[in-house]
Each structure stands twice: as structure tokens, then as C-alpha cells.
């Protein structure tokens, strides 16, 4: 039998990763036989730039590694510098950091839920969930001054306090999310169509997740209880009882498919609300920053010598920064790693043997944004004939599949 495979390049325009991707699929009929990943279209050389700036300037650069994780990266970076220079963060600042990080998780997970629904053809859910997301953005703006790129982290603490008058507004928003959570859960976990489209699709086995060093909800959905907040509690998480969420809490079984990833993210929404409430109840009073005067802080960092690692559980998984200070204005080394870096490789086992129409939801399931499906060229190897498939066509295929299987 003459087995013809077609190659489909997808990408590279891709908004959510540090590295937008180009994918190359080898397709046999409707089935994916081989996946090649080629990231690097968004490579801006951030580490190179950072090594020419002082640590306080780097905070703002770190924030702009990713606009969605704009709390996780400065959080990890500040921790790394504090560990390297031996700066103690006041307890109140640790609590404020955790509150901001958890609010970011709420915003990121709802954003993801909307994108996933869009990929399945549920555009009304996209609009409703993004409407719900605006509430947490309003709260973030109220607390930090910005909707995105909060600019609240500083080496040794935070830049803004949460005052007594602000507490009712925070609780109000948390109540709003508690109210609508039931609806979100109902849409995603009880809907037969979503179950059809996501169960046993894009399976990542426990073994693969372990060997490919996957992080975040991607690995937890495969049954590995791995969460930095639980394993190595940093900041105020050390006082809280955070437990890694695996899908068996909800459904009693672990399959490692897209459906399980939805479960993990939705349950983490509830967890985040609980963490913020605990933080608000137990927040100690006191200073919010170790050294208020930035010139003094810079001088202190200039004299510091040492290396430090900062690890943070970002919405997408473990985010790690490594900093080495060597008695100079610029850090000797700054290395940053975003969670998707480790999760990239998990796409390969997830996508093999899936259908073309499942590409969008499987790629979205590890939570990058998937607007990368910009230009898809189908190249027929035999006669060199080219046909263009746009993001829209690919999306259309996905929507059609949903319609076909809807009972």
C-alpha cells in the first residue's frame, strides 16, 4: 500500500508563549503521524537584555516576559534576588504577594476556559467567561493600579499595601466568583458535547508527564501531585494548606486527557478563592517592604554576592528564575524559565494519532493561547500542489466536529 503523508505547517504567529510556535504535522488521512516543534519566532533575547540592566530594571522586563503571567515572573525573580542577597521579606508583603498571584490565577484560568470553549465552537461561553474575567481585572486594577503588568513587585516586598477599606471590595469579588462558579462547572463538566470532544482526546500518560518533566495543571491532570505551592511552599503559602489538585478528586479517575485538564483548572479556581480568603483573614500587620529607598536597595544589591533560585507556581506551572550577583551593578547571570518551556514537549505524545480537528483543543489544553493557527499550508508532496488553510478553516473543522457528535 502506498502510504502518503501530508505535511501541514502551522504557525508561527502565536501570542501567548514566550516563544510563539511553528508546528509541522505529518498527516496520514485525518490522523497525525508526526509532530515537529519549531519555537523561536518570539525570541526577544530577554536574558541577554537583562544581563545589561540592574536588578530593579529587570523586574519590569521580567513582567513583560508574558502579559498573562505578569505576577509570576516578577515574583520568582524577586525571590531569586532576595535569596541571592539575603534579604528578608516582611510577612505582610508575603501575604500581599500571594493574594496578587492567586488573583492572577483566577484571571488566567477563566481566560483559558474561554479560549478552550472558543476552540470547541462555543463562542457564547467565550464571551460569557471573558465577561466574568473582567471582574477580577477590575479588582487587580483597584489593588495595583493596572489591569495587566501590575508593577506591584519590588525586591524585598511589594510597592502597594492593601488597606482596611479595600477588604470589602475584595470579598465582594470573591463572592461574585463563588456565585458563578456553579454555572461555569455546569457548562464545562456536565455538558455532553464538551465531554465528547475532550474525553480521551490528547492523552498524556503519567509516565510521559514524569519523563518530559511537565509542570502545572498539565502534569496534575495526568495524576502527578506536583505543585510548588505544596511541595516547597514559598512566601505565605508556607502558612496555608495548599494541596495539589488531581482530577480524581472530582471524577474518581485519572485519564490525563483534555477533560481532566479542564477539571484541574476549574477546581483550582475554587482553591484560589479559598487561599485568598485565608490570606485576608490571617494577614499580619507591619511593613510591606524591607528597604523603601530604592537607591539604598540598589547599593545593597551592588555589594551583594551569591546565587539564588526563585520558584513560583504560575497559573501554567512551575516558573523558575536563577540569579547570580557578584558585587557589581549588573547581575552576573539571570536565567528565567516559563512553565510552557517544559510543557512544549508534551504536545508530541498528546497529538500523535489525533485528528486534525482536534489540534486546536489539544494545543489549547496545556494553556498557551492558540491564535497561532494563522496560516496553515497543506502541501501535497506528490504534485506539489498547495492549498491554504487559514486559522478560520481549522477552527471551522473543529466546530464541525462538535456539531457532528452533538446528540
Amino acid at each position: 500500500m502506498n502510504k502518503k503523508t501530508y505535511s501541514i505547517p502551522i504557525g508561527p504567529v502565536h501570542p501567548s508563549l514566550k516563544e510563539p510556535m511553528t508546528f509541522n504535522f505529518e498527516i496520514y488521512g485525518e490522523r497525525i503521524e508526526k509532530v515537529n516543534l519549531a519555537p523561536g519566532d518570539n525570541h526577544r533575547g530577554i536574558e541577554f537584555m537583562g544581563r545589561q540592566r540592574n536588578p530593579i530594571q529587570i523586574i519590569y522586563l521580567a513582567e513583560r516576559i508574558c502579559g498573562i503571567c505578569s505576577a509570576a515572573h516578577p515574583f520568582a525573580f524577586c525571590q531569586a534576588v532576595e535569596n541571592a542577597a539575603g534579604i528578608e521579606v516582611p510577612e505582610r508583603a508575603q501575604y500581599i504577594r500571594v493574594i496578587i498571584a492567586e488573583l492572577e490565577r483566577i484571571h488566567s484560568h477563566i481566560l483559558w476556559a474561554g479560549v478552550a470553549a472558543h476552540e470547541l465552537g462555543f463562542d457564547s461561553v467565550l464571551y460569557l467567561s471573558w465577561r466574568a474575567r473582567e471582574e477580577v481585572l477590575d479588582l487587580l486594577e483597584y489593588l495595583t493600579g493596572n489591569r495587566i503588568n501590575y508593577g506591584i513587585f519590588m525586591i524585598g516586598g511589594v510597592r502597594r499595601d492593601i488597606s482596611e477599606e479595600q477588604l470589602p471590595r475584595i470579598r465582594e469579588t470573591l463572592e461574585y466568583y463563588k456565585d458563578i462558579y456553579g454555572k461555569i462547572e455546569d457548562i464545562f463538566l456536565n455538558d455532553p458535547t464538551i465531554a465528547f470532544r475532550t474525553k480521551n482526546v490528547g492523552v498524556l500518560t503519567k509516565e510521559d508527564a514524569l519523563h518530559l518533566c511537565a509542570v502545572g495543571p498539565t502534569t496534575r491532570a495526568s495524576g502527578i501531585k506536583k505543585d510548588v505551592r505544596q511541595d516547597q511552599p514559598y512566601s505565605a503559602y508556607a502558612d496555608l494548606n495548599v494541596e495539589a489538585i488531581t482530577p480524581d478528586v472530582f471524577s474518581g479517575e485519572v485519564n490525563g486527557d483534555v477533560y481532566d485538564r479542564i477539571i484541574v483548572r476549574l477546581l483550582e479556581l475554587v482553591q484560589s478563592i479559598q487561599i485568598i480568603e485565608q490570606c485576608l483573614d490571617n494577614m499580619p500587620s507591619g511593613e510591606i517592604i524591607a528597604e523603601k529607598k530604592l537607591v539604598k536597595l540598589l547599593n545593597q544589591l551592588k555589594k551583594a554576592k551569591g546565587e539564588g533560585v526563585g520558584r513560583v507556581e504560575a497559573p501554567r506551572g512551575e516558573c523558575i528564575h536563577y540569579v547570580k550577583l557578584n558585587e557589581s551593578e549588573l547581575p552576573e547571570v539571570w536565567k528565567a524559565r516559563a512553565p510552557t518551556y517544559n510543557n512544549l514537549m508534551t504536545w508530541v505524545p498528546m497529538l500523535i494519532d489525533q485528528q486534525i480537528a482536534d489540534i486546536p483543543i489539544v494545543i489549547a489544553s496545556i494553556d498557551p493561547c492558540i491564535a497561532c493557527m494563522d496560516r496553515v499550508t497543506i502541501l501535497n508532496k506528490n504534485n506539489g500542489q498547495k492549498s491554504m488553510l487559514t486559522k478560520k478553516d481549522l477552527h471551522e473543522l473543529s466546530v464541525q466536529k462538535t456539531r457532528r457528535i452533538t446528540p
Binding site: 508561527p12 504567529v13 502565536h14 501570542p15 501567548s16 510563539p20 523561536g40 519566532d41 518570539n42 525570541h43 526577544r44 533575547g45 530577554i46 541577554f48 537584555m49 545589561q52 519590569y60 522586563l61 513583560r64 516576559i65 508574558c66 502579559g67 498573562i68 505578569s70 481566560l111 474561554g114 467565550l126 464571551y127 460569557l128 471573558w130 465577561r131 474575567r133 473582567e134 481585572l137 489591569r147 495587566i148 503588568n149 493561547c369 491564535a371 494563522d374 496560516r375 487559514t390 486559522k391 478560520k392 478553516d393 477552527h395
Partner: protein, 149 residues
């Protein structure tokens, strides 16, 4: 400004990311969703530059994207307008000294409207799109009069 004049037909927008951090991109999508609801004006994101009237470009231009930005610009039919959203596309922003970045977007393609901010609020992006719309209508009219002559 008489707004009605510019609302004769729907404006289709193609969003192109040339190496942005994603902050602007989610604000663009936020502009389309119910709180800000750009679609009530008939403004719509489309999946191909060949259908678009306006290019919405975010981010500094990385080396790998350089050629693609030009190709997308050339694929967009005339009359067209280019909007740059965000500080890094406008001037390089925080990414001013990298080996892999070719600089701001206006070094690569002609730009009509700049929306500053890191990231700009959805209201600012909507305002930017309206500015481009006004420019497009003027372009169309001048094209019409040129044809009539």
C-alpha cells in the same frame, strides 16, 4: 466628528503578533468581549490578512517575524491602515537593546496610528481603531474622486 459618516460598512481587522508579550493581545480580545464589545460597531477580527481592512500589530519585530510582517502587509488589500498597539511596537519599549529584535514596527512597514501604553486599555485600542477608520474613509473618498477624474 460626525461618527455616522464612518459607520457605512463593517471594518475587518487582522491581528498580527510580531513578538509581543501577550499583554496587548489579551487586551485586544478583551476589547471584543462583552464589557467593551467592539463588535457592536461591526468591527471584527478576521483569520486572514486578505480579508482585512486594518492590520493591528503588537510587539517589537523579532528577526524571525521580520519577513512575515512584510508579507502580511503586502497581502492586505488596499486601501489599508496599520495600527500599532503598545509601547514596544511603537518604539521598542523595554526591548530596546536586543540582538534578535529589528526594532519598532514603523521601521518595517508604514504605520498610520500608534496606541501607546504597556499595555493600552481596551478603550484606547478602540479609539485607535476608530482613528484608523477615519483615515480609511478619507482614503476611500480620495480614491473615488481620483477615479471619477
Amino acid at each position: 466628528m460626525k461618527l455616522n459618516k464612518y459607520f457605512e460598512r463593517s471594518l475587518w481587522v487582522f491581528h498580527l503578533n510580531t513578538g509581543s508579550c501577550n499583554g496587548c493581545d489579551i487586551e485586544i480580545v478583551a476589547g471584543l468581549t462583552p464589557r467593551y464589545d467592539l463588535e457592536r460597531f461591526g468591527i471584527k477580527l478576521v483569520g486572514s490578512p486578505k480579508h482585512a481592512d486594518v492590520l493591528l500589530v503588537t510587539g517589537p519585530v523579532t528577526s524571525k517575524m521580520l519577513d512575515r510582517v512584510k508579507r502580511v502587509y503586502e497581502q492586505t488589500p488596499d486601501p489599508k491602515a496599520v495600527i500599532v498597539v503598545g509601547a514596544c511596537g511603537t518604539s521598542g519599549g523595554v526591548f530596546y537593546n536586543s540582538y534578535n529584535i529589528s526594532g519598532s514596527v514603523d521601521k518595517v512597514i508604514p504605520v498610520d496610528v500608534y496606541v501607546p501604553g504597556c499595555p493600552p486599555r481596551p478603550e484606547a485600542i478602540i479609539n485607535g481603531v476608530l482613528q484608523a477608520w477615519i483615515k480609511l474613509e478619507n482614503l476611500r473618498e480620495s480614491m473615488k474622486t481620483a477615479q471619477a477624474k
